[in-house]
Subunit: 275 residues, 3 copies
């Protein structure tokens, strides 16, 4: 059976073209991290442009951060076209639970578009599961956090929601959970300092879209491999930090580590169990 | 009496959530510098989203760079809601004086929204005070510059305008002036090379919003502390530059220096007098 | 006769103010690279703002990546105003050939606006010449690539299209071609790893606009000098890469190298022939 690391090589071999409708805060990092992992990014959000652009791609990454009424229309058009064409489609419900517009947009997206993966922090995912939430801006509410103490219940929640949605749910935080409803990867890569960089979640969604696009037969494994890749890159990047460095240099070091990621590095560094 | 450095620790202790309606040129740096100084950023500009988002935050940073008709509507809605809730609100009138749309938007914002701080370069601030100006794009007109020669008149101008507006005015340049109409901090931190990085002013506005949000009883001191923090970070970052480095690396080094800023470093490095 | 390197010094001496209507993916890098090469950037895309902003500038850079219906209107208004005022105007037709909206917008822009330079990858330029194309997202179709084998035909194509358009055509890739219809610079600076950074093409368009604005009497030479500057910066930046570095650090190193570029460095490092 192939390893998580094999998914990395598949991305580099296939160079998946990924269409991103994403926020303007972290879009440059999403583009660079997609190139770093072996994908090819294109960004397009206008209703007049998105159907053509998504048609030439293999995957679609919808991220609702800094959404507006025009780009939301683009999200629905692109998502439906991608569904028609059988492309891999991922949702990153940034800030669902923090505003009615974000919550309602995310809930409507998961009703009308078939997603392969929904990836968010625990508060965003709970918001989608429950219909409302208490997301703290773009960060999870600490009261929601997945911990060693509540791990069994958290896994059960993620599995149940994945089964209900018929897609992969990826909840990321100090402990990451990735489940298709049957199996659940519990991943412990990463560093707490990654939370001091804007957009590591957005970057992961971009990378994950490339991984599931390039590994269509093993999307659960590919989604888990993407989480391990990002977390391990956070560890490798941190090990290269020097006296006086801070979050801006750390951002560069993480993307650099993804640029240098390969099958062997990931297989040796991935920290996960399957439950 | 507490020092400027104490304001830094207050930001790290309180982790103020700051809503930013800001330009897409420097938004990523604004988010990372807010995280670096101890705040938590969220960006949102759509009229349907801004009131909810600003309601969960403690401070609002309105920056009119790359404004458009939709985001301008968002600025007014967010500003009014933030005023209702008693949040700290800052205006960065990027390019006021360079176009009629920017000048008129900035003038209308200061009429309809109560700001705690207006922070800009001298040409932008003169434009607001006089109703028109000669801002050179996003840079001050050299004819307007605050210098040792015109310092007394410049201080008098800033104090008078601060008193008239009933808020703090922060004019930044080679010499920075921060006044509430009574006292004026004259600050000489910083490096001229900071002008070769896009958005150090936008970054300062983000940091300053976090500082005044986390230090509500001492907003003048907090605003001055933010200016010293940014300038001192420019000095520290510059000291770490190596042969062959340029403005892109310098940008990272400055944000890194803010990430590592603490009370002691600021109190030892701040260069200011109160007039 | 002046050298290519002399064009660099002209930019630093004149500090051309460049108005950019550009995509939100790479806009921060475009601003920083414009500052690095000695220009001064301002970004503005709203129909209500662009005419005033372009009026105070010397050059206009129109980049259609992440275009939308509002910004397209801004492109036409700004372009016409810049033409009226005799400003240098450049088009970067990002993704022309990848969607009908992009192709039609680019074709309409070259009909209604007089450009000094059109700069794109070979697939984008072929799309403009032929009216349709097969651009692979934001990258050229490999079937279109300029190679040593098809160099004579490629030069002939670029010269013919430049003559027909009455402007400079700059096709960039592994081999770059810059022609005014009479002469063609064939340039071999650069590194293949530059393709792993998002927006090196967008950055070049920004730099090139500064170069033609500051060298109005020698626009062909200035456009070629900009291409050599970007490519040479890619070589210098690469030479500074260390074990573990990747595309994010490389991005910073290239902008840094442009920050340090001068006449002598460019004249010694430029690799070109005139055909």
């Amino acid at each position: 059976m192939s390893t998580l690391g094999a998914c990395v090589d598949q991305v580099r071999a296939n160079v998946p073209l990924v269409h991103n409708i994403t926020n303007y805060v972290t879009v440059n990092d999403v583009a660079n991290v997609l190139l770093a992992c072996g994908g090819s990014p294109i960004m397009s959000d206008d209703p007049k442009d998105v159907e053509d652009i998504t048609s030439i791609c293999g995957g679609l990454n919808i991220n609702i951060g800094t959404l507006n009424q025009r780009t939301v229309e683009g999200m629905f058009l692109a998502g439906k076209k991608a569904n028609e064409l059988g492309h891999a489609v991922l949702l990153d419900p940034v800030g669902a639970g923090a505003s009615a517009f974000r919550t309602e947009t995310a809930l409507k997206l998961i009703q009308e578009i078939k997603f392969d993966v929904i990836r968010g922090n625990i508060s965003e995912i709970k918001t989608l599961a429950l219909g409302s939430g208490t997301t703290k801006g773009v960060d999870a509410d600490v009261a929601d956090a997945v911990t060693e103490e509540n791990l069994d219940q958290s896994i059960a929640f993620v599995k149940t929601f994945a089964e209900k949605m018929g897609c992969i749910i990826a909840v990321t935080g100090a402990i990451d959970l990735v489940s298709d409803g049957t199996k659940c990867y519990v991943i412990r890569n990463g560093r707490p300092e990654m939370g001091k960089i804007t957009g590591t979640g957005c970057q992961l969604s971009g990378v994950m879209t490339a991984f599931i696009t390039a590994n269509p037969e093993e999307k659960l494994k590919a989604a888990a491999a993407a989480v391990c890749t990002m977390g391990l890159a956070g560890e490798i990047g941190f090990s290269r930090m020097q006296e006086g460095d801070g979050n801006s240099t750390y951002r560069n070091r993480i993307i650099d580590a993804i640029y240098n990621m390969d099958q062997k590095t990931l297989d040796e560094g991935a920290k996960y169990e399957v439950r």
